[in-house]
Structures are given as structure tokens and as C-alpha cells.
């Protein structure tokens, strides 16, 4: 080496050329590092990367542990974060081609990270060959499938209803109502006893939609099951539909003073606390959050759940039941075989049951051994009788309608708009291209 022969022990300073060499080398390394990293991963590390939202942590960790007992060589790197953060990071990773092998996936369409949007972009692996996909009921196909291929794994459906405090009901001497009229009477009784009838925390955006969703199945789909198709073809609009009746009822509950004061300044956490403590009698919520309500209550058995009665005929009540957030496999996964084997494992009946139970959902397939959360018993006959409709946003054509719905409800509750104006905002968002 020529440089070695010219080394001078008394020179401590770095020569210009030496510096340039080091700098050039560092720059070259920096430029090459992505390539080197890519090369090192090109064969697949065998460790499955799984990214989910916080709600999925409990079932995923339980099922990963069970999977590893039968597949001791399988390695997982799992991470979970709130929805906003996961969506931001995951979308960037999908765009950059380095998405995790298995990742959170939202059913149907209507959100930027929904199954349909990602499938259209060719970013999801086809799961249609897996045996469990044949058992998905046909009315759930729009949530799981796009153009005939299954891309989503989800354990089942979550229902929207009224989570209620049984002790508060008992204090007022009332029973869960079965019709809209009974609901108004029960609320009046509760209010007279100094109990807030319905806790509402619409400062948390997703809470705004739940009462609309609870009312719309009776106001819209019970009368016209083809409403979604008519909306898609431009024949129907929110403004001239049963949505106006549903929003009118939402407003009526507020006008009669059946909500807590200042719902727009109240958060989901405060709503939870009101019902758990018995200050409020009920909250219209999704069954997936039952665990949070139970955790906040002194005695979890104080809480129950019943279908929120949006109609006047108890025998013909319809409810919303949306497929819960699930998992998809990246089309570019380098561990595709391992990822598919894991999802096949999740699709076994007992694992579907385990996942569903941990998020208080109703499994998409059931057998004699299936045990659902007892709080959901009142919902099962309606689901079996096909009187359940998916959450409305799961069939909306773009990601702007749902936030427009949030804003419309907040404006309605604040008195900034009326039903016609609120639904006009939603129609405008619906008309935008995805």
C-alpha cells in the first residue's frame, strides 16, 4: 500500500485529499445504503412484520402466541399504534414499497386505507384460495371482496347499539326501550330522575356518526335495501332520503334535552365515564368499545347493551353491523407464504371466535361451540334474520363523505346548520371523485 509507506507519525492533521477521500467514501456509502439494505432483505428475513391499530393488539398478540406454539420457528415483529398514526405511516410505507407483510386493513370502501382503495392500487395479496373465505356470508362480500377476490381478513361484525347502565335504569324504574316512542318515554323518565338519558361526546369525531348510523337502517334500508346502488347511480341523494328522518330524530333527541350539555365539547372518554359511573344512563356506541366501558365501571356487570330502537315496530327493527377492522397481506411481501399461513390460521373457527370475543364482535361464521359476548345476545336474532346493514361509510365512494358527516353532525348540534344543510354537505362530498 503506497499510503502506508508515506505515513508520517508526526503529522496529526488530515490532508485535503485524505479528507476528500473520507468524504467521498461516506457519500458513496450513503448513496449505496438503500441498495445494500434492499439487497440484504431481498431473500426475505422470515420474520413477519405486522402493523395494526391499537384495537387489534389484544387479539393479535393472543393469536400470535397460539400460532407460535404450533409453529415454533415463526418469528413476528408486531407493532400497534392509534389509527391516525398507523394510517400515516402505513400509507407512506405502501407508497415507498416497504409496507409490512401483514397490516391493518379497513373493510369495503370509504376510507383512504380501505380494502377497495388498496386493492385497486394492486397493493394487496389475493386471499381467495384460503378455505375460510368460502364461509363469508354473501351480504358481507362487499366488505371482504373486490372484483370477486377476497383481500380482507376480519373476524366478524361489530354492532352499534345502546350501552346502558343497568343501575341507572333501575333507579329510574325503566326497562330498555324497544321502539322509538318507548325510547322517548324512557329518556323523559330518566331526565325527570336527574339522570342524563344519553351521554354524547361528539368532540371525538368518530362518535358523531354513531346515532345517525343507529337510526339510518330503519329510516333508509328497511324501506329501500337498494339505497346504496341508487346513491351510486345518482338516483338518490342523502337530502331527499330517509337520512333526513334519521337526522331529524337525532336533532329531536337534542331538542328534548336528552343529551348531556355541550356534547361538542365532550370527548369519548368523558362519555364513557358518564355511563360507567351512572351519571348518564346510556350511550349509543359500537360494541367494540364495551371493554372500555366495563373497565371504567366499578362493576362491569352493571353494563349491558341493547339494539337502539330507530323504528316504531319492535318486530321489524333493523340494526347497523359493520365488519370490524381486519388484516391484509402486502402484495409485495417477501414473506408472502408465511403471512398467508398465518392468516389461514386466523381463519379457523376457534380463532375467529377468539378474535371476535376479544373485541365484542359477532363472528362472521359460527358453530355450536361459538360463544359470543352475552351483552350481544339481543342482537343475534336480528343478524340471523338479515336485518343488519353494514356501517354506511363502508360503501361510500370516497374518503371525504365520512369526515363531512362528522362536520355536519357537529354543525347540526351547534345550531350552525339544519338537517337540509347538513345532508347537503354530505351530498357534496359524495359527489367528489375518489
Amino acid at each position: 500500500m503506497t499510503t502506508g509507506s508515506r505515513f508520517r507519525p508526526d503529522r496529526r492533521t488530515l490532508g485535503r485529499r485524505g479528507l476528500l477521500r473520507i468524504g467521498g467514501g461516506a457519500a458513496a456509502l450513503a448513496a449505496l445504503s438503500p441498495v445494500l439494505t434492499a439487497c440484504s432483505d431481498s431473500g426475505g428475513s422470515g420474520k413477519l412484520r405486522l402493523v395494526g391499530v391499537a384495537d387489534q393488539q389484544k387479539p393479535v398478540e393472543e393469536l400470535v402466541a397460539r400460532y407460535r406454539t404450533s409453529h415454533p420457528d415463526a418469528e413476528f415483529a408486531t407493532s400497534f399504534a392509534p389509527t391516525d398514526q398507523v394510517q400515516t405511516v402505513l400509507r407512506t410505507q405502501l407508497a415507498g414499497g416497504n409496507a409490512p407483510d401483514v397490516h391493518v386493513l379497513y373493510p369495503g370502501s370509504g376510507s383512504a386505507m380501505s380494502m377497495v382503495e388498496l386493492a385497486k392500487a394492486g397493493l394487496l395479496a389475493d386471499l381467495s384460495e384460503q378455505s375460510w373465505t368460502k364461509e363469508v356470508p354473501s351480504n358481507f362480500h362487499p366488505a371482504y371482496r373486490h372484483e370477486g377476490k377476497t383481500y380482507l381478513y376480519s373476524a366478524g361484525s361489530s354492532v352499534i347499539g345502546a350501552i346502558h347502565n343497568k343501575k341507572a335504569f333501575a333507579r329510574a324504574g325503566v326497562e330498555p326501550p324497544r321502539t322509538w316512542k318507548e325510547l322517548l318515554d324512557v329518556c323523559a323518565e330518566l331526565k325527570a330522575k336527574g339522570i342524563i338519558p344519553i351521554a354524547l361526546g361528539t368532540q371525538t369525531p368518530w362518535v358523531t356518526q354513531l346515532i345517525s348510523y343507529a337510526l339510518v337502517p330503519n329510516a333508509v334500508y328497511a324501506r329501500n335495501p337498494a339505497f346504496d346502488a341508487e346513491m351510486a347511480s345518482g338516483k338518490a341523494h342523502f337530502r331527499d332520503s330517509g337520512w333526513a328522518d334519521a337526522m331529524g330524530k337525532y336533532q329531536e333527541l337534542q331538542r328534548r334535552g336528552f343529551f348531556n350539555e355541550n356534547p361538542n365539547g365532550t370527548t369519548y372518554e368523558q362519555q364513557t365515564s358518564m355511563v360507567a359511573s351512572g351519571r348518564a344512563a346510556m350511550a349509543v356506541q359500537v360494541s367494540a368499545v364495551l371493554a372500555n366501558f366495563r373497565q371504567a365501571a366499578r362493576n362491569p356487570d352493571d353494563l349491558g347493551m341493547f339494539p337502539f330502537p330507530g323504528g316504531d315496530d319492535a318486530a321489524k327493527l333493523w340494526i347497523p353491523a359493520g365488519i370490524v377492522v381486519g388484516l391484509g397481506i402486502s402484495a409485495r411481501s417477501r414473506n408472502s407464504a408465511e403471512a398467508k399461513a398465518f392468516v389461514e390460521f386466523l381463519g379457523r373457527q376457534q380463532n375467529v371466535d377468539r378474535w371476535a370475543r376479544s373485541v365484542a364482535a359477532i363472528p362472521f361464521k359460527r358453530d355450536a361451540a361459538t360463544r359470543t359476548d352475552p351483552a350481544l345476545d339481543g342482537f343475534l336474532p336480528l343478524i340471523d334474520d338479515n336485518r343488519a346493514v353494514p356501517f354506511m361509510d363502508q360503501s361510500w365512494p370516497n374518503a371525504e363523505v365520512q369526515p363531512a358527516h362528522f362536520a355536519a353532525v357537529q354543525d347540526l348540534l351547534a345550531g350552525k346548520t339544519d338537517v337540509d344543510g347538513a345532508l347537503g354537505q354530505m351530498d357534496e362530498a359524495y359527489g367528489k371523485k375518489s
Binding site: R8, G15, A27, A30, Q203, P263, N264, G265, T266
Partner: protein, 320 residues
Amino acid sequence: MTSTSEKTVPGPAGRAADGPDTGRGRRVRHRDHTIPPWLFVVPALVVYGIVVLYPSLAGVMYAFTDWSGIGGFSFTGTDNFRALLDDGRALESVSNTLLLTLAVVVVQNGIGLLLALGVHTSIKSRAVLRLVFFAPAVVSPVMVAILWKYVYNPENGAGLNGLLGAVGLGGLRQDWLGNPSLALWSVAAMVVWQYAGYSMVVFLAGLQGVPAELHEAARIDGAGSWQRFRYVTWPLLAPALTINLMLSTIGGLKLFDQVYAATNGGPGTSSETLSTVLYKEAFVYGKFGYSTAVALVLALFVAAVSLVQLRYLRAREVTA
């Protein structure tokens, strides 16, 4: 090699000729090969180019496309910018951003100046007070927003409403974040609470640079407290004022964390700012092309306001 391109010229005592180069002699470098000095910055430029320049320029390009953040895109000319002019929510957010910035700049710097004048005295607790007033500035903005959501609890017995009730001002209780007319100002108050101490520190540095002899001379001339502040302190605080106004204006125009965490732009769209709109367009609606167009407009707007402000404020600066 470096060693062959350098010669050491002997110093006055001829030390270099007698022994090894000690480095104390005057060196003259004869450049056999001219290597432009800018090559030294090449590594840094490469990193800067990859991390800053390329994404920024790519962002400018995406502003003229319909990119959804995933998959391909096509160029749509100025469609995104024309859509921006017709977007009621974006225009409302511009108005909200300007109002929020104005409120934050005026109130934050006003309070910051008063705090600085207060702790620039000889009171014993001044060191502790400086620390207390500055402390909120080091807390994460998201954490501040979460804490203030408890302060703004709309229930009568809780947070700020509870305090107002306790001191007999129950009539002033409000739905601070849930009232569309109030939400923006409630966020502004939160931002002022967090950063008034920051402005205080900058003003304090300015106050400590005002020579005591000028005050002494003014006092001998019969100037009162107000006159000494108006004609001695205030003109010499101009550099500190320039920094504070610049920082608070830029911070106000791109305010995101506190708004997103406290109100998410609501109720309705009453507290949307340009930053929350561009975030939602990208990551909620999947419209990265349109979002980058909003971001480009925001960046140009911030740059223009800052330049005008800087020119004006620099013109009125004086030195002691």
C-alpha cells in the same frame, strides 16, 4: 499526495531548517493540483439534496398531479390550484389561520414583554419565575393540547368552568372547545400560554443588552419610567421584537399540533387551519397532489409574509 505539495518556509530563527517541522513556521502551500474548495461541502450537499431538496422539489411537482399517495399519477396542470380557490373549507382555513396568527402574535408577544419587564427587576424570586414562565415552552405541543382539553372541560364543576364558578364568575362558563365561535380562540389561548415564556426569554435577552448608562442619563435628564421605556428601552428592543414577531408569525401560520389534538379542526370546520387541511387532504382523503398544492401555497405565503415583516422590522432597528 499532500506531503509533496507543501514546503515549509523557515521562520525568522531558521528552526525549520534545523529540525522537523513543528508547525510553528509560516507555511506556504504550493498547489500542484487545483482542487476547488467547494468539494469539501459535497458530502453535506449530497445528504442535503437527498433529505431536503429532492423531497421539496418532488413536492412541487406533485402539486401539479392527481397523485393519491399510492400508485401512479398523471399531470393535471393547475387544476389543484384552481380547486383550491373554489374550496370553501380551504378558504375558511386561510381566514382561521390568519386570525389565529394575529391573535397569537399580538397576545403572546404582549404578555411575553410584560413578563420580561417583570422578571428583569431585582426581585428575589426572579430566577424561579423565569423558569416557571418558560417551562411550558419545553412541553410537547400535543401534551399541552391534551392537558388543556381537561382545562376546557365543558362541565360546570370541572377545569376552567369550575374555577370560574368557584370565584363567583359562573356566568362566564363556556363550552370552550365545543362552541364553533369560541374554539379557535380557545386554541389561541392555549398556544399563548405555552409560548409567552419563550417570547419572554428573547425580550429578556434584549433588555439585558440595554446599557445601564443610557437609563442613568435619561433619569438625570428627568425622564420618568414610561419615558425611559418608550425612548430608551423600546427602540433598543427592536432586534428582540424582530425575532419574536418572526418566530411567532411563522409558528402561527403553520400551527398544526395543538389544533389537531385539541379540536381536530372542529366543531364542524370552525377551527381548521391550512396545516390541518393539508394533513387531512393527504392522509385522510388520500389526495396527496391537492395536499401538496395547499402545502406549496402555505410555504410561499409564509415566506412572503416573513420577508415583508423582516424588511419592515429591520428598517426600524437601532443600536445602542
